[in-house]
């Protein structure tokens, strides 16, 4: 009897343990917490909205989405990787910081190669938005915006003087020189390597090739770089272009200059509109329009250029890697959601097909007095320049910024500036070998 009781008690205990363990196991399988880190709150807003829709695909799983803006996000992720700590399932890598993840092949060893996963969708996105996130020919990020460059301007300044909006650089300098007599500049330039790259890319130049090799010293790139610097010099000398040091370029001085009518506008990418102009110049609604970036008179180069971008990457060692990719694909690689992204957070689609949709080209923007701004981008989306990343991109940008400051100051000529940067880069590349 006693033995029977003992056996029953043991069996009962096992049954209790099994019963306790079963729901726990089931609960583990149906509970998924996904994480995303970025530097921009708009991405959190858009991903959160899409995630709520996407999770309907998995009715048996209870998803929790921990999407957040993390200060110094790239330092933190790289620090976590160095310390063997976890990184988020999804990471928004700003293209300027992508070379940091190229060091030692970090991007390849820690993030998902999206090339094959994108499959047929790859060709739907313009190539110039893939290359900033390529490492050794493979794609590791899906971009958040077209980042195409346009001219933001105040039409009243031209209209009051009977001037038309310039379409070529020659006209730009000519119109700018006329306005400069009244102390008005057409746009501004700063000592930022990325801004120089923007002008260089439009003219058809390149700094690195698809293998990440430094090709600026080679022709035609060297000649194009000098040509671009000379254009900027001409703009500065004529007063068409105003120099603003990088310390002041994102501050209130520019907006104040718009308000006072001594600065017509800015040649900037699409993100400038909702990230800088609208929030800082709310009171100037209806005073701006968007036009095409001036082109080179000889017809060489592109209708536009690019600057900026944030590509979302998937941490491949995380257990949610598959879910993270699916969410990213749903959020960024579907035509419908690319259009929603524009409607909700005003980042232009990277799929050229989206520019045939009336929700992009037919949308009137009240800030631009009802202008259908999407039409401007529809004209240039297929001519977005392609450029390539390199391990030495940050070295180039920081030293080019120094050379630009010297060049704008008149301390060095265009040739000297390019020779100096080439020499510096060659020293740095030799040191890294």
């Amino acid at each position: 009897m006693r033995r029977t009781l003992t056996v029953v008690a043991i069996l009962f205990a096992f049954a209790l343990l099994w019963a306790a363990a079963l729901p726990a196991a089931a609960q583990d399988a149906s509970e998924v917490t996904m994480t995303m880190w970025t530097h921009d709150g708009l991405y959190v807003q858009f991903f959160s909205a899409r995630a709520e829709e996407w999770k309907e695909r998995y009715p048996d799983i209870n998803f929790t989405f921990e999407f957040e803006v993390v200060p110094s996000v790239f330092d933190k992720v790289l620090g976590n990787l160095a310390a063997g700590e976890e990184i988020p399932d999804l990471l928004g890598i700003e293209q300027g910081s992508f070379p940091r993840f190229m060091q030692g092949g970090i991007i390849e060893s820690k993030f998902l190669d999206l090339t094959d996963l994108l499959a047929d969708d790859y060709d739907l996105i313009v190539e110039g938005r893939h290359t900033p996130y390529k490492y050794q020919g493979r794609v590791y990020g899906v971009d958040s915006s077209l980042c195409a460059v346009v001219y933001y301007y105040q039409p009243s300044i031209f209209e009051e003087r009977g001037l038309s909006v310039p379409t070529t650089w020659d006209e730009y300098i000519e119109t700018g020189a006329a306005l400069a007599e009244e102390g008005i500049a057409m746009s501004y330039i700063t000592d930022h390597g990325g801004m120089f790259m923007m002008y260089l890319l439009q003219r058809g130049g390149a700094i690195f090739d698809d293998h990440g090799e430094f090709v600026l010293p080679d022709e035609p790139n060297r000649g194009i770089a000098i040509e671009v610097l000379n254009l900027l010099r001409e703009g500065l000398d004529s007063g068409a272009i105003r120099y603003v040091p990088s310390a002041e370029v994102w501050g209130p001085a520019i907006i104040n200059a718009y308000r006072e009518g001594n600065l017509v506008g800015a040649i900037m990418p699409d993100w400038y509109s909702d990230y800088i102009l609208k929030p800082q110049a709310e009171d100037m609604a209806e005073q701006f329009r968007i036009g095409r970036m001036p082109v080179w008179g000889d017809g060489d180069g592109h209708k536009t250029s690019v600057w900026g971008g944030t590509g979302f990457a998937v941490a491949k060692e995380n257990e949610n890697a598959q879910y993270a990719w699916e969410l990213l694909q749903y959020t960024y690689v579907t035509l419908e959601n690319q259009i929603k992204r524009y409607e909700e957070i005003a980042y232009y689609p990277t799929m050229s097909a989206a520019f045939h949709d009336d929700r992009i080209v037919g949308l009137s923007d009240p800030f631009y007095a009802g202008q259908k701004t999407g039409e401007v981008f529809a004209e240039i989306v297929d001519d977005v320049p392609i450029w390539y990343q390199s391990l030495f991109r940050q070295t180039f940008e920081s030293q080019m910024a120094a050379e630009l400051a010297l060049f704008f100051d008149g301390a060095v000529s265009a040739d000297e500036a390019i020779d100096n940067i080439v020499q510096y880069m060659e020293d740095e590349i030799a040191f890294a070998e």
């Binding site: 030692g104 970090i106 040091p245 990088s246 310390a247 501050g251 200059a257 940050q394 510096y424 040191f431």
Partner: protein
């Protein structure tokens, strides 16, 4: 027999007590040395070793011997950053230190009314966030809308390009350093001034000494240890300046690297470009420089001089 056992016991206890007596002071001071070893000595030694490697922080380091030092010494940007830092350090010693001393003397004056209010005001920059201060200064220095240029613009003069001119940007940073550091140093000097016996000044007055004579013959010599302490603190902080320049110049150290400090150079190379071995070499050179300069300062102030 009992007596012998008691004697042995007392000897053993005394020996133990002696041991305890000998070890106790070390035990009491050990927390500092343990922390010092863990948080300063070990990282410094690791940095020294790391400076001989190429390392991105994630993959395996590669031994490169003194290549990092070779590149460092041939890099014109480092030379510029070192020159800029030297300018900040010298300007701090020549401007901030005397300014703090003069302010302390004024604040110590018996005829000054509301002295506590004045003292609190001078201390305010020390307890204010560096980021907030620097952002305010960024606006103050703005060429077109900055307060500092307002009088010049009002008078029809050409405004100063505080943050866009290679010379003026250094002046802008020195002004910021002065504004930020002077208050704290003034408090140190004030403490030193209050410890000078009043009788010395009274005796000097009886002997007919002027204010200036009292300052040079009593105040300065009596403040010698404080001056040494303050000058070392000031030198260290100005050589390690980072936050202010990083924020003021949007992380560029511009224009044309004209404001970049050595620590900013180290940060850019180490964290932005992930060259941790190279950054360690910069850190080692910086440490050696600060150490030697501090020793020279101590030597100059006679700290190592033997008393007769």
């Amino acid at each position: 027999m009992v007596q012998a056992a008691m004697t042995r016991g007392r000897e053993a206890r005394d020996a133990g007590g002696f041991q305890q007596h000998k070890l106790a002071p070390y035990a009491f001071i050990s927390p500092f040395y343990v922390l010092f070893a863990f948080f300063f000595l070990a990282p410094s030694l690791i940095a020294l070793v790391l400076s001989l490697f190429r390392w991105d922080g994630i993959n395996d380091p590669r031994f490169v011997l003194a290549r990092n030092y070779g590149r460092l010494l041939s890099d014109k940007v480092f030379a510029q950053a070192a020159t800029n830092t030297a300018v900040y350090a010298i300007a701090s010693l020549l401007i901030v230190l005397p300014l703090a001393l003069v302010l302390a003397v004024l604040l110590n004056s018996k005829s000054l009314r509301f002295s506590n209010v004045w003292r609190a005001m001078y201390f305010t920059p020390v307890v204010t966030s560096t980021v907030a201060i620097t952002l305010v200064f960024q606006i103050l220095y703005n060429r077109d809308i900055g307060l500092l240029n307002a009088p010049l613009i009002y008078l029809g003069l050409e405004p100063i390009y505080w943050l866009g001119d290679r010379s003026w940007v250094k002046v802008a940073i020195i002004i910021l350093i002065a504004w930020r550091s002077t208050g704290l140093l003034t408090i140190y000097f004030l403490a030193g001034l209050q410890s000078i016996p009043e009788e010395l000044y009274e005796a000097a007055s009886i002997d007919g000494a002027s204010m200036l004579q009292k300052f040079y013959r009593i105040t300065i010599p009596m403040l010698r240890p404080i001056i040494l302490f303050v000058s070392i603190i000031l030198l260290l902080s100005s050589i390690q300046i980072f936050d202010e320049i990083q924020i003021l110049t949007n992380g560029t150290g511009g224009p044309a690297n004209a404001s970049m400090s050595v620590v900013q150079y180290l940060y850019e190379r180490g964290y932005t470009r992930l060259r941790l071995g190279f950054a360690s070499a910069v850190g080692t050179v910086l440490f050696a420089t600060v150490f030697i300069l501090s020793l020279l300062q101590l030597q100059w102030y006679g700290v190592f001089r033997k008393e007769d």
